[in-house]
Amino acid sequence: MTYNLILAGVGGQGILSIAFVIDQASLAEGHYFLQAEVHGMSQRGGAVQSHLRLSDTKIYSPLIPQGEADLILSVEPLEALRYFSYLKPRGTVISSRSPYLNIPDYPPLEDIYREIKKIPSSLLLEADRLAKEAGSLRAENMVVLGAASVFLPLKEENLKKFIEVLFRAKGEKVVNTNLKAFDLGRQAATGEQ
């Protein structure tokens, strides 16, 4: 089994936090994994992505080959589209519906949604609303992670354990907000399936 996943978003949207949780859960469950991420220039409001690969046998390439991603997980709808060439024919796309508007030529949202919905296994989440409901708009990344948890070959409890580890230093309230965001995302994914 090799599971390939692309995390997408805009610099500053917390993609590396999602990666941290998945990485740690993978190690805890004894998988091999490799995760390539972006630092530097493009973190300033540019498109960022992370290639994450889990496997029960040794893996080599830090980049996912085209057409080999099982899942594209995006915190921003336009950014989800950017990596379609990586998706497997029967791959899944999970994305937040809420756009990050910092470019002049942002396409009409309906067009973006339409493209995403062409994928049979796709899910557009009201991540902003759910994050707010959980207690903070900043938790959108955990909403999409929660939705993805339905598909990932990792145990829910392990993912949650490392959300706790990630936010522990920021206090109990932040931990609970993020756990709730995860739960709401997960519910949204199971409800709509």
Binding site: P62, F84, S85
Partner: protein, 532 residues
Amino acid sequence: MEKIILLGDEAVALGAIHSGLTAAYSYPGTPASEIMEFLISQSNGGKNYVAKWCVNEKVAMEEALGVSFAGRRAMVSFKHVGLNVAADPFINAAITGANGGLVVVSADDPGFHSSQNEQDSRFYADFARILAFEPANHQEAYDLTREAFDLSEKFGLPVMIRLATRLAHSRAPVEVGEARKKNQQPEYGYGPDWTLLPANACRRFQDLLQRQKQLKNYAEECPFNELSPADKGNRLGVVVSGLAFNYFREVYSRLSSRPAYLKISTYPFPEKKLLKLIEEVDEILVIEEGYPFMERFIRGVAGIPGKVIKGKMDETLPTSGELTPETVARALGLPVKTGLKTDGFQLPGRPPQLCPGCPHADTFKALNEALQGYDRGNVFSDIGCYTLGALPPYKAIQTCVCMGASVSMAKGGAEAGVYPSVAVIGDSTFAHSGITPLLDAVYSNSDLTVIILDNGTVAMTGAQPSFGTGEPLDRMLAGLGVSPEHIRVIIPLPKNHQLNTGIIKEELAYHGLSVIIVRRECVQILGDKKRS
């Protein structure tokens, strides 16, 4: 053994810590910054070992050399172009030799993720005639760093570790070993070896030449340079190094008949192993991340009679950019998938840009307005977040070459008749390489306006401390001899726009050297301070 998740950069850093590191030095630069970030985070406030950001890479390299002279272990790390800045001490450190283990980490950036060029640090190691390691994965990054310290002491030479972005910035679990103790008492280097008067230098260079044989022998024996035989009847041999090995290995199992390969993680190039491979094959494919360094070596001038050599030089692989699983699969004759297309949908790019509320934005607005009415002026700029001022909506700067070049190019430009000649430089870049050209401009009272963007940090690379900020910067400028009435300070805020534009106009009109300090903190570090 314990397994921990580490970035490639962090694997190198932890390898150094476990090698008995006494001190490490660096200047920020993508993709190397996380080495020092990690070292600082594990140093227990400097109690475990010294881990410091320096004013620039040359200084960092020399500080590390001082530690090595004193008989203790030191590491210096930077991005590839940092090695250009540190080249003088780097090359000469091969002549003095190392006393305590001295490891130089240079992180290349193929694919131009965050850099001006794609230069390949392996040429520098070859030029200096020292050993270089090119780890293929995280485990090797850790293991080879430990090996590098031991070998540096064994051969009495600095050792280079060459990283590339995809290894530096990817994470994987690493098995770590027992930590070694530090070298205890300082034991100084032998003075005449370290005093490079021509006679000493010549003697030391002969010594370096003598030692080449030992380095070559090591590279031949080194288990990290691995020769693997072909399946019966397969006449292809692949020579593949470092990071590239992963893309090769990814598709290797898909090949119906497997070629022989020579995996390289250590230079100088193991010639005997190569000759052994060549004997067995008719065709050689060279796969490497960066420039065709091995390929040039293997091809020589006339190629190898009777053998076909493929690689970047015949464009079997792309001559620029990063390798990918696709380019490597194609080079091996395998089909690649094309993946899904978003037909007919125009996908706009999302380039990086200044954060909302960034002080640089206010500066560029004021500068653009102040320059109206001058038709032949030029804004020479430098490297940092403010380089994004080249893009719309600002389009405020016309150059960006290398750290500090704004000031020197503006002086040269002014001397060639550019008026107004403006230099725009960040506070950290000014400390790094802007002070010396400014001194030059003071000496000539050049007709130029230097704008120092003091946002209090090295923002572009992740908010490391800056050495040329605040009140010390003001004193520095006065001390350099810039005339006090032409040192102006402005606060870049929308409400000050008129005032700031006026001040910039005044200094543009002045035919002599002026320095305008633009002072407001980067909103990112401001945000971090508020949150913590």
